[in-house]
């Protein structure tokens, strides 16, 4: 059994990594629920954004906030472009999984071609800074990431819950024909949500560039665990995603601390299997 402080440190890092899972999963969850697109390419978008941040912050010396401001509209447009392609060929839900995987492979090779297969690490003065509270180290950038994740999740949730556009999206996902008969322009909303999903990739990408080492092979590292969080949280449910991400992050961290780090994947995938078998209709 690990010491109390080690356990506390683990739980904290689990919570913080849960924030990362939320940022990674949000775009996936939204496009799956509202566009019937299972967008594997989202993970490649995230890494493309991360490498671009590396370039903007590390090489061009930009402020991370400014880098994010540049990347947000770019990835908003990338999301729309992908949606255009999928609509143009009227790709169904299952085929979208395969098409976007093809795009993921393409982008991964593009990244490798530009930045090589070597590890890249953004060296900043604040990247690894942390403050010590009691016996626990609190990494500052990761904390910031966590708060951004919470804010983005809550704002998206409120947007879907309380605004006309959000309600129209939910209505349209349930019954596009009748929603259309009441004036909902499904196509325009679809592009909007595709753009927003793309933009979340930019946010996740900037933080990954700041806290993590980049390599093209990393693209699929979080794929499984993020899928688990998205399904566990309920498709199109940002708050559910946040909670599921935290649960998975913390249980992974505890599993790592109590047993070995290599046991960690068991938690999320067993949860994913259980949820699929027990309540597939809720997905």
């Amino acid at each position: 059994m690990p010491s109390a402080s080690l356990l506390a440190q683990s739980i904290l890092s689990g919570i913080l990594i849960g924030g990362l899972y939320t940022l990674l999963g949000l775009g996936l969850s939204l496009s799956w629920r509202f566009l019937q697109v299972i967008n594997l390419a989202h993970f490649a978008f995230v890494f493309l954004a991360a490498y671009l941040s590396y370039q903007l912050i590390g090489v061009a010396g930009l402020n991370p906030g400014l880098a994010l401001l540049i990347l947000l509209p770019i990835f908003f447009l990338i999301g729309i472009a992908l949606q255009y392609l999928l609509i143009r060929f009227s790709v169904n839900e299952f085929a979208s999984l395969l098409v976007t995987f093809g795009i993921l492979v393409l982008l991964e090779t593009l990244i490798q071609w530009i930045w090589s297969a070597d590890f890249r690490r953004l060296e900043t003065s604040y990247g690894t800074a942390s403050i010590k509270i009691g016996a626990i180290y609190v990494p500052i950038v990761e904390c910031l990431m966590f708060f951004v994740a919470v804010i983005v999740a809550v704002v998206t949730w409120a947007w879907l819950k309380f605004t006309y556009v959000g309600k129209a999206l939910r209505a349209s996902a349930e019954n596009p024909i009748i929603a259309g008969a009441y004036g909902v322009n499904h196509k325009r909303l679809a592009y909007l949500i595709a753009g927003i999903s793309g933009a979340t990739a930019a946010i996740a990408g900037v933080f990954i560039a700041l806290i993590s080492t980049l390599a093209p092979a990393q693209v699929v590292v979080w794929l499984g665990v993020v899928f688990a969080a998205v399904i566990l949280g309920g498709l199109g449910n940002p708050l559910g995603l946040l909670v599921a991400s935290l649960v998975i992050g913390v249980s992974e961290a505890i599993t790592m601390a109590v047993t070995a780090p290599t046991w960690a994947p068991l938690v999320s995938f067993t949860l994913l299997i259980a949820i699929l078998i027990l309540r597939p209709h809720k997905v």
Partner: protein, 241 residues
Amino acid sequence: MLEVRALDVSYGDAPALWGISMTVGAGELVAVVGPNGAGKTTLINSIARILPSRGGSIWLDGVEVTALPSQAMCELGVALIPEGRRLFVGMTVEENLEMGCYRPAARLHRVQGMERVYEIFPILKERRRQIAGTLSGGQQQMLAVGRALMARPKLLLVDEPSLGLSPLITQQLFEVLKKIHADGMSMLLIEQNVAIALDIAERVYVVEGGRIVSTGKPKDLLATRHIREAYLGEDVEAGSR
């Protein structure tokens, strides 16, 4: 107000329509009756423009709307109460009503609209935070009517509201529809239950096999052979003997 000229529809597995011509005057309540599979729902969906037509035209207040999408029909003041209600079952009662007034012009009157719906159907006010899918069949049909009213329509398209409801609930529902009509709403009602339809309609079209086979005032129609034939299979000669 609504005029359908020689409408032809053939679409997938929906029953086809041939040369349907009909009108609904301002403030009028017109019913379309006929046995199942005659093409009634196809007709109303085609008027709402959620089903494309192959020939003929549809006119609203003297303007041709045949080429418009369903969103535009909503803008022009046509609201559909679809067969089987088709509520947004995962959303709350209130959210369903709000979807009714999604178009900007109707949105301005959201509060008054909701008050009116709650006045007509007090039970919906009680249940306004409940998920629509968990309502009873009768309450769901009320919600479907309420959702359509929120759109502040000039013309209400009502498709088979009695479906799956008990006779008592059906009767209550039709009382409400009657009242809405009395307040000046034009209505096109599709109903398989002839008795009820003939009871409240001012004019009736009988559809059988994708064609209009008879039309007239309810009183004159009921005695006619077309209705008895279509529903009961009576042939006139045998009946008159």
